[in-house]
Amino acid sequence: MAILGKERFEDLEAIHEGITGMLEIYKEDPASRGLNAYFKAFSQLVENLCRPFDDKQPVVWYNLGMSPELILALEDVHNIPIEAYPALQNIVGDVNFTLDYIDRAEAHGLPPEVCSVDKAGVGAVLKGIMPKPSCILGVNTPCDSQLAALPSVAEIAEAPMFLIDIPYLYGEREVEYVARQIRDAIPFLEKHTGRKFSWERFREICLRANRMSENLLAWNEFRKAVPCPQISKIICLMVPLFITFAGTETGVVTAAELAAEARERSERGEAAVEGEKIRAVWYQDPVWFDLQFYDWMESELKMVIPMDLFGYHAPEGMIDVSSRESMIRGLAHRFIRVMPMSRQFKGPIEWYLNDYLTLCREYKADFGIFAGHVACKHAWGGLGLLKEKSREIGMPLLVFEFDMFDPRVTPVESIQDQITQFVNNVVLPRMESKK
C-alpha cells in the first residue's frame, strides 16, 4: 500500500485499525464469507478516503440520499460520501471520535435535534479530516436533516453545491423531473472537477450497478428462509455499501459474496441462530455504535433479524442501458424509489406502511421493532399510523428510543433490556398461545 496519508490523522488510524482487526478475525473463517467481503470493501473505502491526499485528483462529496453512479462516470475523480467517515468510525473505529464529531457540530451551532449522522458529518468536515472537495452533489432526501447539514457543509468547505430535488410522488412525471436535474448536474460536475463525463464509462457503471442490484435482490430472497441462514448484523451494513460502491466492481463482488453465503448456508440447512425461536423485522435505524448488540440478541434471545429497513433492496432499481436517456432515467428511479429511507419516507405514509407489511409477511416476522432513532422525525411522525396498522394485522410492535450513532442517548444495555422485556412479556406468550 502506498503512503495513504492515514498516518496524518489519528481518526483514520482508528478506522484502519478497526478494519484490519476485523479482517484478521474473519478472514480465516469460512463461515464469515459475507462479513469478510464487507470488511474488504470498507478497507477500500478507507483507502478512498486517503488517496486524494496523495494523488491530488478532484474529489466530489455527496450525501447519503444517493448512490455514486453519476460521479463515477467522470474519469479520475474520487467519490466520497460525506457521512462515510463518521459511519465507519462508528461501526468499526472508535465511537469516541464519532461523539467528538457530533459535539463539534453542536458547538458550532447545529441544534441538538439534528440527526447525529449529519451532525457527525458536519463535525468531521469541521475537523478538517476529509479530503477537500471540488464540488458537492446532493439530493434533498431522505430527511430535513440533510437540508440542515448540506448547506452547512457547503458553507464550511466553501465548495459549490448542486442539489437535486426529490419530489413527493413517484410516477412518469416525477422520474422525468429528477432525470432532468441529473442531466443538469453533469455539466456542473464537469466544470468543477475539470474532468469529462464519459457516457461509455457511465454505461459500464450502470451495468455493474445492475449486477450489484441483482445480487442484492437474490440475497434478500435467500434471507427469507426459515430458519434465517445468515446473521442479523450483516443486513444493516448494506446502506454504506450501496451508497459508496453502487456501480463499482467492489459493489458487485461484495453483493455476490453476501448472496452466495446466504445461499450456501441455506442449502446446507445452516441457521444463523442455533435453535432460532423468534424472527423480527427491524424497521428503523440499526445499532451501529455497537454491532455486538446483534450477537448478544442472537445468543441470548435466540432471535434473528432476517430483514431491516437498511438491508431491504427495492426491485425498482434496474437501469435500462439502451440509451443515454434511459440510463439517466434509471438513475432517477434509483434516487426516488430505491435508496433506503428515501424510498419509505419522502412520499405519502402508505409507502412506509406498505414496505413494513411486505417485510413482515415475506420474512415471516413474529414481531416488529420500531427502533426510534431520536432525530428521525418523519419516522416518529408516522408512528401512530404504524401502530394502528400493526394492531390491524395483529403484529406486536416494540417501540424504543435511541440514537444509532450516540450511545449517550440510550446505552446498549438499556436497549437490550427493553427488547428482553418485550420478548418475554409480549412476544413469547403470544407465540405460545398461537401454537
Binding site: 430535513d144 411522525g381 408512528l383
Partner: protein, 331 residues
C-alpha cells in the same frame, strides 16, 4: 371609522383561535373556504373561484395530545397543535385543505389530514426544496395541478376576468399591508413588532372584502397619530414561520423593538441586531440558523439564536438571553 386600538383588538381576537367572526359570516353566506399551510400558496387562484384561502395555524389549541398520539412528541409543536385542532374537529369549517412538501413534519401532518381528518378536498403540492431557478418550472406545473384540482372539485373554471379581479383585490390588500409594515422604518415606529405581526397574521384569516376596510382605517389612523416610544434597540426577528405576536412581545418587553421580520430588511430598517428564532425540532431552519449565525458573526452584526415552542410563552431563560443580548450591544 374604527381607531387603532379597536382594530388591533379585533385582529387580536381573530388570531386567537381557529374560528373568527369574518370566517363565520363568510360561511353563513354560503361561501367556500379552504385551509392551507405556509406561504407559497397563490391566494388569487382560490379567490378567482370564490373560495377563501385560510391560513391554518395552531392557535387556540389547548393541548396537542390527540395529535401527539400519532405524530409523537418529536415533531415541531406548530404541526402538532394544528393537527390537534383538525383531529378534534375544530377546523371542520374548512371545505378542504392544501398542504405542501415544505418539511418532514408538515408532510406527516398531511398523512393525518387525509387518513384521519378526511376533508372533502385535499391537495398536496410538491414544492421544490431547492432554491434554484432551474426547478421553477416544476413549481409552476404543481400550481397548474392545484388549479385543475380546485376547478374539478368546485365545479368552476378560473376565467381570465375572474383571475384579474382577484389579483386586483389581493394587490390592494398587499399594498396596504406593506405600507403598514413599512411604517416601522420610522424611528420611533408607530407600530410595535407584536402589533405588526398581529396585523399580518390576521390578514391571512379574514376574507379580503372585510380586511381591506380594516387595513385602510388602521393605516389612516397610524399616519395621523405618528410615532410611539423610542426603543432601546431596533431588532430584526428572522427565521422560520412565526405567527405568535406573544413571542415578539416577550422580546419587546426587554426594551428592544422588533422592526422587521426578514434579514434582508435589516439594513433598510436600520436595525441594531438580529434575533434568529427557530422552532424546536425543526431541521429546515436548523441549517439556516447555523449559516446565518456565522455569516452575521463575520459581518460583525450582533445575532442571538433562540429556540421556541409553539404556544409556549418565553421562559425566564429566554428573557435573560434577550436582555443580555441587548446589554451586549451596549444598549
Amino acid at each position: 371609522m374604527k381607531d387603532k386600538q379597536e382594530i388591533l383588538e379585533i385582529f387580536g381576537q381573530v388570531i386567537s383561535g381557529p374560528m373568527n367572526r369574518y370566517v363565520s359570516r363568510w360561511k353563513d353566506s354560503g361561501n367556500k373556504i379552504v385551509g392551507y399551510y405556509c406561504s407559497y400558496i397563490p391566494e388569487e387562484l382560490f379567490t378567482a373561484l370564490g373560495v377563501f384561502p385560510y391560513r391554518i395555524r395552531g392557535a387556540g389549541s389547548k393541548d396537542s395530545s390527540v395529535a401527539d398520539a400519532y405524530l409523537s412528541a418529536r415533531l415541531c409543536t406548530f404541526v402538532r397543535h394544528s393537527l390537534a385542532l383538525a383531529l378534534s374537529g375544530e377546523l371542520d369549517f374548512l371545505d378542504g385543505v392544501v398542504s405542501l412538501n415544505s418539511c418532514d413534519h408538515i408532510r406527516r401532518g398531511f398523512d393525518l389530514w387525509k387518513i384521519k381528518v378526511k376533508p372533502k378536498f385535499s391537495y398536496f403540492i410538491s414544492v421544490p426544496r431547492v432554491q434554484d431557478d432551474r426547478v421553477l418550472f416544476w413549481f409552476e406545473e404543481e400550481m397548474e395541478g392545484l388549479k385543475k384540482a380546485l376547478e374539478d372539485h368546485f365545479g368552476k373554471k378560473v376565467t381570465p376576468e375572474g383571475l384579474s379581479s382577484a389579483i386586483t383585490l389581493h394587490n390592494r390588500a398587499r399594498i396596504l399591508l406593506k405600507e403598514l409594515l413599512d411604517l416601522r422604518k420610522m424611528d420611533p415606529a408607530p407600530l410595535s413588532g407584536a402589533e405588526a405581526l398581529t396585523v399580518s397574521v390576521a390578514s391571512q384569516l379574514i376574507p379580503e372584502r372585510d380586511l381591506i376596510p380594516l387595513l385602510e382605517d388602521l393605516l389612516a389612523g397610524l399616519k395621523k397619530s405618528g410615532g410611539g416610544q423610542p426603543a432601546r434597540a431596533r431588532l430584526v426577528v428572522a427565521g422560520g414561520e412565526l405567527d405568535e405576536p406573544q413571542f415578539i412581545r416577550n422580546i419587546e418587553e426587554q426594551g428592544g423593538q422588533v422592526v422587521a421580520d426578514d434579514v434582508c430588511f435589516a439594513i433598510r430598517f436600520k436595525a441594531d441586531g438580529i434575533i434568529f428564532q427557530r422552532m424546536k425540532f425543526c431541521d429546515i431552519w436548523a441549517g439556516e440558523s447555523h449559516n446565518m449565525f456565522w455569516r452575521m458573526k463575520k459581518a460583525g452584526i450582533p445575532i442571538l439564536v433562540l429556540d421556541r415552542e409553539y404556544l409556549v410563552p418565553a421562559s425566564g431563560q429566554v428573557q435573560t438571553r434577550v436582555q443580555a443580548f441587548l446589554e451586549s450591544m451596549g444598549k
